[in-house]
C-alpha cells in the first residue's frame, strides 16, 4: 500500500548517511540539464538520481521539487507509486525474493522468512544493521520455470546473479555467502 508508505516517509526523519549537500545538488543539476525542467520527465529524472545514490535521498528530492516548481508530496507520490524506486538506503547486496504465483506456491515465503531470520531482521527492517544485505520481496521475474527464484544485485548495479530452484537451507547458505562477500567489500573500503 504505497499511500501509507508515502505518509510515513514524509513524517519520519531520513535514515542513512547524509552527504555533503553539494553532492546532491550537482546530481540534481545534472539531471535537470539533461531533461530540462520538464515535469513529464519526472520518472526518468528519479531513475537517474537513484542510479547515482542507489536510493532516492530526501535532500535530493527536496532540491528537485524546488527546481521543478512542484511540491515534494507530488514527487513522493510518483516515487512511492512505482516499484523501482527506493526511499531507503540499501545494503551492499540486494536480495530480491520472487513472490510471483509459481514461486509463492513453491515456498518462496518460507525462504524469505528464513533469510530474514538469518540476518536477524526485525519487523519493518529490510536491511541488515551491518549494511551488508537488503532483502526484498519482488514481483515475477518471468523465470517461473526455475521457481523459487531469487535475484541478487550489488547496490552499484555492477553484479547481477539469479539463483533458481532454491529451498530453505540453500537460501540460508546463499545469504551467508553474500554476507561474507559484502563484509569483504566493506572492509576493503575502510582500508582504502
Amino acid at each position: 500500500m504505497y499511500y501509507e508508505q508515502s505518509r510515513t516517509y514524509l513524517r519520519t526523519p531520513q535514515s542513512g548517511a547524509v552527504l555533503d549537500p553539494r553532492r546532491y545538488l550537482s546530481v540534481v543539476d545534472r539531471v535537470i540539464c539533461k531533461y530540462g525542467a520538464d515535469r513529464s520527465k519526472l520518472i526518468n529524472m528519479l531513475q537517474e538520481i537513484q542510479r547515482e545514490f542507489q536510493h532516492l535521498p530526501r535532500q535530493a528530492l527536496e532540491m528537485l521539487s524546488v527546481k521543478l516548481g512542484i511540491s515534494l508530496s507530488e514527487i513522493i507520490n510518483v516515487a512511492t507509486f512505482y516499484h523501482q524506486f527506493r526511499l531507503e538506503p540499501v545494503g551492499v547486496y540486494v536480495i530480491q525474493v520472487c513472490f510471483g504465483t509459481t514461486c509463492y506456491l513453491k515456498g518462496s515465503s518460507e525462504i524469505y522468512e528464513s533469510m530474514r531470520k538469518v540476518l536477524g531482521l526485525r519487523e519493518r527492517e529490510n536491511t541488515a544493521r551491518d549494511g551488508t544485505i537488503t532483502i526484498e520481496k519482488a514481483r515475477c521475474f518471468g523465470c517461473c520455470s526455475l521457481a523459487p527464484v531469487i535475484m541478487v544485485t550489488s547496490s552499484d548495479g555492477s553484479e547481477r546473479y539469479v539463483h533458481g530452484r532454491l529451498n530453505v537451507s540453500e537460501g540460508k547458505r546463499v545469504v551467508l555467502d553474500y554476507r561474507s562477500k559484502a563484509l569483504m567489500k566493506l572492509k576493503g573500503l575502510k582500508n582504502e
Partner: protein
C-alpha cells in the same frame, strides 16, 4: 531497400559448424552464459572453426540451458540441460557423427535413427508456432536474420495498401487483443483512424505485470523485429507519427533488444522519414517504465509515459483521447507480432486456426506443478487438459492437479474436473476466469485454495493505487476476511460477505485492476466452497498450508537435539535436552511456524 536485401544475403557465409546458444533472461538465469563461455573455450581447444549464434529462447524452459549444433552432413541437433563442463564432449562427439546424449534432432536425417525428431515430442508437435516461429532460431540482434525469414515483407505489403484497406484486413482476420480482454484489434484502429488530429500515437504495451506470464518478454527478447514491424503497421493504419514501446525496468534485456531493433530498423529505412519511399514518416521510442502492476491498464500506462501515476476514468477511451490528449492506440506485444505475421503470411494461414469467434493462435505460459514448464503456442480453443497434460507433461509423481489458475491476479481458478474446457475468451469468462495474458499456473494437492486467494488479494492490495474507494478499502476488507478464514476465526456469514463484497468491488471500481481483483476469491469460492467451509467449520486446512490451522510436531527420528527451535520459540513451547529429541507443547504453541523455518534438519513437521 534492395541494398538491404543484398547485405542480408552477403553475410550468408555458412561455415562448417553452427552452434546456437539461447541468450534470453530465462536461459541466462539457468546458466547459459557459462555454457557459452565453455563452448568458446572448447572450440578453441578442439581447433574447430564454428559460428556461435546467440539466439533467443524457444520456450521449452524445462530444457534450459539448451544448445543446438548444426553442421553439413549432420542433422541440426538439440542438447538439453547442458552443463558447462559437458560442452566440450558434446561438440567433439557431434562432429564425429555421434549424437548420443542429444534430446532431439530438428529434422529427420537418414542414418541417425537413434535420436527422436523434435516433432515427435508432444510438447513440440502439438504446438502451432505462428508468432513464435523464429524464437530460439534466429539471432534477435540481427535484422539480416529476420529479413531472411520474410521479415518486413508484411510492412512492405501494408504500405502498398490504403490505410482503410489495412484496417479491413485486420478486421477480416478476426484478430483480438492478446493482452487480456480480447478486444477486437481492428476496432481500436478504426476509431483512432477516424479521429481528426494532427498527431496520433501508437503504444506497444510490453508491461506484462502478471506473475506467471512471460510470453511477451520471451517474444520480444527472441524476435524483437516482429513486434516492431507490427507496431509500424499499426502506426501506418491509424496515421500516427510516433510510437512507444512500453517495457518495465525489471526486464532490462527485453528493452535492450528492442532498442537494438529500433536502431537497425532506422538504418534500413523501416523507421524515420518517408519510410520505403512512401510519404509515411514514423519513429519509435522504447520507454523504460519504473514498474507498477496497474500500468498494464491503458490509462495508467499513458499516465506513466506522461510522468504521472494512476489510471483515470474511461470514457474518453484512449483511441479518441489518449497520450497528451491525442488519439492513441495501445496494443499488446503479442497482438502486434500477430499483425506483422498476418501481413507476412496472408490471412488464410492465420484464420485456419482457432475457433469461430477467436481466430489464430495464442502463447500460453504453463508453470507451477508440471514437469515441463514452458511457453507453448497453440490454437485458441485448445483444451486446458491438452496444455497441462500433453504439452506440459502433467504434475510430478505423487501430486495431483487440483486447479489451474488462468489469467494472473485478475483471473480465476478452473478446477480439475473442468479441465476439458477450451481456452478461449468467452468460455473462460463464463467460468469466472479470464484469458488475461495467458499465464496458466497449475495448482496441486499440496496447495490450499484459501491461501491462493489470499496470495492474489495481497498482491492486488499492494498494487492498488488508492484512487478509488472500492478497490482501496474493499480489497483490504477482502484480505482481512480471508485472513480470518485462514486462521480459523471466520463464520459462514463471512463467506457470504466475501462473495457480496467481491461482486460490488467489481461493479464499482474505477479501472480494470479493481474490476477484476475479486476474481481469484470469487472463483475459488465458487469451485472450492468445501475447502473454505472446512476452514470455517472444522478449523482445518486440508492441504496443511494455513499455519494457524495445523499443528507442529517434532519427528524424533530426524531431530538431532540442536535446540535451535527451542531457542527461537517466542512462547517457549519447545523443550528438551541437547542431543536428544525435542518436544513441542501443543497447548502453549501459537503456531507461528518459526521452528519449521529454523530447523536445519527438517525435523519439524506439520500435522
Amino acid at each position: 531497400m534492395s541494398e538491404a536485401l543484398e547485405l542480408g544475403s552477403g553475410t550468408r557465409k555458412i561455415s562448417e559448424l553452427i552452434v546456437r546458444v539461447p541468450l534470453a533472461s530465462c536461459t541466462l538465469a539457468a546458466g547459459a552464459s557459462k555454457v557459452l563461455e565453455s563452448i568458446e573455450k572448447a572450440l578453441g581447444k578442439l581447433g574447430l572453426e564454428a559460428r556461435v549464434k546467440k539466439t533467443g529462447c524457444m520456450g521449452l524452459c524445462y530444457l534450459d540451458p539448451w544448445i543446438e549444433l548444426e553442421s553439413r552432413g549432420l542433422p541440426p541437433t538439440i542438447y538439453a540441460n547442458v552443463k558447462p563442463e559437458q560442452a566440450e564432449g558434446i561438440i567433439r562427439r557431434y562432429v564425429e557423427g555421434d549424437l548420443s546424449g542429444a534430446l532431439a534432432v530438428r529434422s529427420e536425417a537418414s542414418g541417425f535413427k537413434g535420436v527422436p525428431t523434435l516433432n515427435s515430442l508432444p510438447e513440440w508437435r502439438l504446438q502451432v508456432r505462428y508468432v513464435s516461429r523464429n524464437c530460439g532460431f534466429i539471432d534477435p540482434e540481427s535484422i539480416e536474420d529476420y529479413l531472411r525469414t520474410g521479415g518486413y515483407s508484411g510492412l512492405k505489403k501494408a504500405l502498398k495498401l490504403g490505410r482503410e484497406e489495412v484496417i479491413e484486413i485486420v478486421r477480416k482476420s478476426g484478430l483480438r487483443g492478446r493482452g487480456g480482454a480480447g478486444f477486437p484489434t481492428w476496432y481500436k484502429w478504426r476509431v483512432a483512424y477516424e479521429q481528426r488530429s494532427d498527431v496520433k500515437y501508437v503504444i506497444c504495451n510490453g508491461d506484462e505485470g502478471d506473475p506467471g506470464a512471460f510470453m511477451n518478454r520471451l517474444l520480444a527478447e527472441s524476435d524483437p523485429h516482429r513486434v516492431l514491424e507490427g507496431l509500424i503497421i499499426a502506426g501506418y493504419a491509424i496515421g500516427a507519427s510516433r510510437g512507444y514501446i512500453f517495457v518495465r525496468a525489471e526486464k532490462p534485456l527485453m528493452a535492450d533488444r528492442l532498442e537494438v531493433a529500433v536502431r537497425q530498423a532506422r538504418d534500413y529505412g523501416f523507421l524515420g522519414e518517408k519510410i520505403l519511399g512512401t510519404d509515411f514518416s514514423f519513429d519509435v521510442e522504447v520507454y523504460r517504465s519504473a514498474g507498477a502492476f496497474v500500468c498494464g491498464e491503458e490509462t495508467a500506462l499513458i499516465a506513466a509515459i506522461e510522468g504521472r501515476s494512476r489510471p483515470r476514468q474511461r470514457p474518453p477511451y484512449p483511441a479518441t483521447s489518449g497520450l497528451w490528449g491525442k488519439p492513441t492506440v495501445i496494443n499488446n506485444v503479442e497482438t502486434l507480432a500477430h499483425v506483422a505475421t498476418i501481413f507476412q503470411t496472408g490471412l488464410d494461414e492465420f484464420t485456419k486456426y482457432g475457433t469461430e469467434r477467436s481466430k489464430g493462435t495464442k502463447m500460453f505460459c504453463v508453470t507451477g506443478s508440471v514437469r515441463k514448464t514452458g511457453v507453448y503456442e497453440v490454437p485458441i480453443g485448445t483444451k486446458i487438459r491438452t496444455l497441462v497434460y500433453e504439452l506440459a507433461g502433467g504434475p510430478p509423481d505423487g501430486r495431483s492437479v487440483k486447479a489451474v489458475q488462468v489469467g494472473g491476479p485478475s483471473g480465476g481458478c478452473i478446477p480439475a474436473d473442468l479441465l476439458d474446457l477450451e481456452l478461449d475468451y468467452e468460455t473462460l469468462q463464463s467460468y469466472g476466469a479470464i484469458m488475461g495474458s495467458g499465464g496458466l499456473v497449475v495448482i496441486d494437492n499440496t496447495n490450499c485454495m484459501v491461501d491462493v486467494a489470499k496470495y492474489f488479494i495481497t498482491f492486488t492490495l499492494a498494487e492498488s493505487c488508492g484512487k478509488c474507494l472500492p478497490c482501496r478499502v474493499g480489497v483490504k476488507v477482502l484480505g482481512d476476511i480471508l485472513e480470518k478464514v485462514a486462521s480459523g476465526t471466520a463464520t459462514l456469514e463471512d463467506l457470504e460477505l466475501l462473495r457480496e463484497l467481491g461482486e460490488s468491488i467489481m461493479r464499482s471500481s474505477l479501472c480494470a485492476l479493481g474490476g477484476t481483483a475479486p476474481n481469484p476469491v470469487l472463483s475459488t469460492l465458487r469451485y472450492f466452497k468445501n475447502e473454505y467451509e472446512e476452514h470455517v467449520v472444522m478449523r482445518r486446512c486440508p492441504a496443511k498450508v494455513c499455519s494457524r490451522l495445523v499443528t507442529y510436531e517434532i519427528d524424533p527420528a530426524r531431530c538431532r537435539g540442536c535446540g535451535q527451535c527451542a531457542k527461537n520459540c517466542p512462547v517457549s513451547a519447545i523443550s528438551g535436552q541437547p542431543g536428544k529429541a525435542f518436544k513441542i507443547d501443543t497447548s502453549r504453541c501459537t503456531k507461528c511456524g518459526q521452528c519449521l523455518i529454523i530447523c536445519p534438519f527438517g525435523a519439524v513437521v506439520k500435522g
